[in-house]
């Protein structure tokens, strides 16, 4: 049997073909070029996330100029405490040392952030009850923050506080 009205099918096929073409064109325009570059996501997103400027310069940037501080630190227990952990984010200062200068720190508030006694802290970590230990006196009055151990000859009878609750760090 011969199919008479084949034209209907051709027209239908043309409509489908046009539809598929429009879909492919729209998809090409709407899906970003880098989508699928590495996986099911926009590859350009990686570069965009990388662009965020860092606020913390990293201790290596600090040590490049402040080698004198590093010399003090290597002798003491604070060698692994990086500069910006106390001094705050200073990437701007690292870029333009004259433009931004670090703020002066209040050791009475700063040191207790780590060294205030807390039963949850590991036993090896040196801890004090600051009220008993120094009675509000700034820690820097006796301890040098970059190398905090008090050497025997530097101790004076008036300035020496009570011994700390915890023993010195093992590591």
């Amino acid at each position: 049997m011969r199919f008479k009205d084949a034209n209907h099918l051709f027209r239908l096929a043309a409509v489908f073909a046009a539809g598929i073409l429009i879909f492919l064109l729209a998809r090409g325009l709407l899906v970003p070029k880098s989508f699928g570059q590495y996986g099911h996501f926009r590859g350009d997103a990686l570069a965009e996330i990388k662009k965020q400027p860092p606020h913390y310069a990293g201790h290596e940037a600090c040590e490049a100029c402040h080698s004198d501080v590093l010399e003090q630190k290597v002798k003491g227990k604070h060698i692994r405490v990086n500069c910006e952990a106390c001094h705050g984010p200073l990437a701007k200062h690292a870029e333009d040392p004259g433009g931004t200068t670090p703020e002066k720190l209040d050791t009475a508030k700063l040191c207790v952030r780590c060294h205030e006694a807390n039963a949850g802290k590991p036993k090896w970590f040196p801890q004090v009850v600051s009220a008993d230990h120094s009675a509000g006196l700034a820690c820097a009055e006796c301890h040098k923050p970059h190398n905090p151990a008090i050497v025997a000859e530097e101790k004076t009878a008036s300035a020496a506080p009570a011994s700390p609750a915890g023993k010195g760090a093992k590591k």
């Binding site: 989508f35 913390y56 405490v81 590991p122």
Partner: protein, 244 residues
């Protein structure tokens, strides 16, 4: 310059192709960072964590995290026995940002657990995203494409570790990026940079010289919720069985 029509028509597609490359830029070649050479993770040594909150503060400042939201936070676990029954208390005041009040009650087992995105290799959060806005990068970091995120919150529900939140102004999901902008520049993450005891350490599992390999070989290291088979890359040393 003298060009006839034929030559002009021949050059036109080539010029269009070249212009496309100019528009696209070549960020990947610009730096010497190669994504295929890294596989990032992190090591947290609970026995070194003092709960000072330096990591939380550093993360908030580095990544402009809004107040009351945390990409990393510290939990304090307090385990005690009352009439032979073990009770567990977990607190995290302001994410542990300003430390913890001292609990001097005797006979209580106490410790701090820093938490953040586990950067799972088989991550549930990336699998549920309907638009491909969150993904595992070729170097093993779970990231969010903020331009593509719809804010549907599906990933926030899917994360078994509770590490995601919806940014209150941008209305997109946010989470720890493992400081992707820093680690691709050769810096460490803000939390690792500021941890005073070295309780957190960034680890490149593809770098054979990274001390992580020696550490994993010589210590008893655990990940959170291993039964979920997320292939988490946040390794904990000294993790108590009570931690969830």
């Amino acid at each position: 310059m003298n060009i006839d029509r034929r030559r002009f028509l021949v050059l036109l597609p080539a010029a269009a192709l070249a212009w496309e490359h100019v528009l696209a830029g070549t960020p990947e070649q610009a730096s010497n960072y190669n994504t295929s050479e890294h596989w990032w993770g992190m090591l947290v040594d609970i026995e070194k964590c003092i709960g000072c909150g330096s990591c939380v503060r550093a993360c908030q400042q580095e990544n402009n995290v809004p107040d009351g939201y945390y990409r990393t936070w510290i939990e304090r676990y307090r385990i005690k026995e009352v009439n032979g029954v073990e009770t567990l208390e977990v607190d995290s005041p302001d994410g542990g940002k300003n430390g913890f009040p001292n609990d001097t009650e005797p006979g209580v087992k106490q410790f701090f657990v820093p938490k953040m995105c586990n950067h799972c290799a088989d991550s549930p959060c990336t699998q549920v995203c309907p638009v491909g806005a969150t993904f595992v990068s070729p170097d093993g970091v779970v990231l969010i494409d903020e331009k593509y995120c719809l804010g549907c919150r599906y990933c926030i529900q899917a994360c078994p570790y509770g590490c995601r939140f919806l940014h209150p102004q941008k209305e997109v999901a946010q989470k720890c990026t493992l400081c992707y902008h820093r680690i691709t520049q050769g810096l460490t993450t803000a939390c690792c940079e500021n941890c005073p005891t070295g309780a957190r350490q960034l680890a490149d599992l593809k770098n054979p010289k990274d001390p992580i390999h020696e550490f994993l070989r010589t210590h008893k290291v655990q990940v959170l919720k291993p039964h979920l088979a997320t292939k988490a890359k946040l390794y904990y040393n000294g993790l108590d069985g009570a931690v969830r």
